[in-house]
């Protein structure tokens, strides 16, 4: 049974964002005043819910009987051989209902939506995984659902657009700006400020204004809570390193958070380096960006010297975002986590290696963490144990893979 402690994990290293929503100098709220009452209401209702046994019990029930939790961990020996002989353990979020870790946050926030007394849900999506998960939860709970998705993403993730429609959601293609995730978020905020009385914005990642970074983290936190227990049971000790892909950062925070207090466990986040950082076409927000404000919080941003957002690039729609959650900015600056870039080619190589050595086709997002693990394993050697968040499955990416590998 999930507990209040599983959701927040106490105040590990001062990361309770408090009422102002700050992680060190990061986070906060930079939004039109019109949205402040709605954000306050979400924060208040969430604070009540997270210690309410009835809410926790319902969330727990949905995670077990609907999402398929706990997800297993799989030891991947043949993949480990490619990673310098390291012992590699995959946390199998790809096996959840809808095929990615996004379902955890979505079920929690869908229950919150009902508690808020709202009947309509809006969400942004990049790869479509958050959109599909949101459409799924809305179908389950009988909520009206509108998904904003950039036109570029609608095209490269057409299968997920069809899934969302089948689930009864309305998908609104966003044609302005870079026509990707960042613009879908802008459009979702515009909808929210117009329809805030009836509508909850079911934010999909650990970015955005307070309290979203905290709520999304807490609902994703179960990934690391389970994995930490499972690794201890299997190996008798904690892993040497935890690896995860970072776009907005929800799957990474989800698996990192339970390990933040374990100082001997290294935390590695892998961003999308696209065509290589030298090309300028990448999404390495933490490693190449600078501190600024985007989508309501202070964090690292890809921006020019006058604060205009620079368009990101990645072969993976889910990592193609020029911002990142403020807690990652804080983990980076405090030195607790380390972030690296993985190019499109490196990710696609790891995508193929996992498929051929283990019979598991990962999401291209997760393939960035796998590519990082291939490097990390070679650095750490055969004595090391690396826990990797396999955040999603690759079914949605077959179109991209067919083109890339000429299949």
């Amino acid at each position: 049974m999930i507990t209040a402690a599983d959701l927040s994990g106490g105040d590990v290293h001062g990361d309770d964002p408090g009422t102002a929503g700050r992680f060190g100098v990061f986070g906060g709220r930079f939004v039109p005043e019109a949205l402040i009452p709605a954000l306050d209401e979400v924060a208040k209702v969430y604070a009540e819910a997270k210690t309410d046994p009835a809410f926790l019990s319902e969330f727990d029930h949905l995670l077990r009987t609907y999402a398929g939790r706990p997800t297993t961990i799989t030891e991947v020996r043949r993949f480990g051989e490619a990673a310098g002989g390291a012992r590699v353990l995959l946390k199998r979020e790809d096996l959840t209902h809808t095929g990615a870790h996004k379902i955890n946050n979505v079920l929690g926030q869908a229950l919150l939506t009902r508690r808020l007394g709202k009947t309509r849900v809006i969400a942004e999506t990049g790869a479509g995984q958050h959109g599909v998960a949101t459409a799924t939860a809305c179908a389950l709970l009988g909520l009206e659902c509108v998904i904003y998705m950039g036109e570029v993403d609608c095209e490269r993730q057409a299968l997920n657009v069809a899934r969302m429609k089948l689930l009864g959601a309305r998908v609104v293609p966003v044609g302005n700006g870079s026509r990707t995730l960042k613009d879908a978020i802008n459009e979702a905020f515009r909808d929210w400020v117009t329809n805030v009385d009836s509508t909850h914005y079911l934010f999909g990642t650990v970015a955005g204004p307070h309290p979203f970074p905290e709520i999304v983290r807490d609902f994703a936190r179960i990934i690391g809570v389970e994995a930490r227990r499972q690794v201890l049971e299997l190996t008798g000790r904690l892993p040497d390193a935890v690896a995860a892909a970072v776009g907005g950062g929800s799957n990474a925070i989800g698996i990192f958070h339970a390990f933040i207090g374990d100082q001997d466990v290294a935390l590695h986040g892998y961003e999308a380096a696209g065509h290589g950082v030298a090309s300028g076409e990448h999404a390495c927000t933490l490693t190449e960006g600078s501190v600024g404000v985007l989508h309501g919080s202070r964090t690292y941003v890809l921006q020019d010297e006058e604060g205009q957002t620079i368009e990101s690039h990645s072969i993976s729609a889910g990592l193609d975002y020029p911002g990142v959650g403020p807690e990652h900015a804080w983990l980076k600056d405090s030195g607790r986590a380390t972030y690296h870039g993985i190019t499109d080619d490196e990710a696609m190589e790891a995508f193929s290696v996992l498929a051929r050595t283990e019979g598991i086709i990962p999401a291209i997002e997760s393939a960035h963490a796998l590519a990082g693990t291939l490097k990390l394993g070679r650095e750490l050697g055969p004595e090391a144990t690396i826990l990797v968040n396999l955040s999603g499955r690759g079914d949605k990416d077959m179109g991209t893979a067919m083109k890339y590998f000429n299949l």
């Binding site: 005043e33 019109a34 009452p37 600078s290 404000v293 985007l294 989508h295 604060g307």
Partner: protein, 264 residues
């Protein structure tokens, strides 16, 4: 430089509301923005808001998004924004910069405040800078002699209205409705109530924006507010015109209509 206090004292003496017009710098062109804003002042605008074009204008509707996109495509930079302020300030109107926070944050708050004051600007309107985050900007603005205008909305509680108006100087921007910028068929019924609620907390002038676009609407708002703010309707005239000269003429015509409106 004309400051906001002078503008509102004069309007009050004339027993009318002030007229505030918005245009982004660099739209329709860098020079065209100065020409259009000058026409707006000549036809009766008391205050001009120069928008600082930003890549992610999440409070703006399609009309302003379109104009801002064109301004950025024209290569409009912060130096151009400040030059635009300087050009428009010569007309004798009070000139504000309306900007999302990140460009100022990145450029340097102190540097931006000094630059704006040097250009003859009177202050800023910052729609996504909440009272909780506004401390450093208020200090920089005060040091440079600039006013800081923040927004209240129909959803604002009394407590929020107090927090926002306590931090405003010059005037308070009351967003008439829950939504993004853009002209509407009618002015929201929420606007008048919001203005009244503001007056419980502040003696500053209260101006109403969002969804105002005609002389009749301006007259209606002038019945209860100290100022009427119009943006998208001006931009629409420029977007729909066959060329820049016709656009500027259209803007002048609209400013005259609105100006008659605020004069009852």
């Amino acid at each position: 430089m004309t400051n906001l206090q002078t503008v509102f004292e004069k309007a009050r003496a004339d027993q009318r509301a002030a007229l505030v017009g918005y245009l982004p710098a660099g739209f329709p062109t860098k020079d065209g923005a100065v020409a259009a804003a000058t026409a707006m002042v000549e036809a009766g605008c008391d205050v001009i808001e120069i928008g600082l074009p930003y890549s992610d204008p999440l409070m703006d509707g399609p009309t302003i998004q379109d104009a801002v996109h064109r301004a950025l495509t024209n290569g409009t930079r912060i130096a151009d924004v400040l030059r635009t302020v300087e050009g428009v300030a010569r007309t004798g109107a009070a000139v504000l910069v309306m900007t999302y926070w990140n460009p100022v944050d990145r450029y340097g708050a102190e540097r931006f405040a000094r630059g704006l004051a040097d250009a003859g600007g009177a202050g800023t309107i910052t729609p996504d800078l909440t009272p909780e985050e506004a401390g450093p900007w208020r200090e920089c603005s005060a040091a440079a002699g600039l006013d800081t205008v923040f927004l209240v909305a129909p959803s604002s509680t009394g407590e929020r209205i107090k927090a926002v108006t306590d931090r405003c100087s010059g005037f308070v921007y009351a967003a008439s409705l829950m939504g993004v910028t853009g002209a509407r068929e009618s002015v929201s019924v929420a606007a008048e109530g919001l203005v009244k609620r503001c007056r419980e907390h502040t003696s500053l002038p209260v101006c109403v924006g969002l969804g105002v676009g005609t002389g009749a609407q301006a007259a209606e708002v002038a019945g209860y507010a100290d100022g009427v703010i119009v943006g998208s309707a001006f931009i629409r005239r420029l977007l729909d015109a066959p060329d820049e000269a016709a656009g500027v003429a259209g803007v002048r015509e609209l400013a005259a209509e609105l100006s008659a409106g605020v004069r009852g």
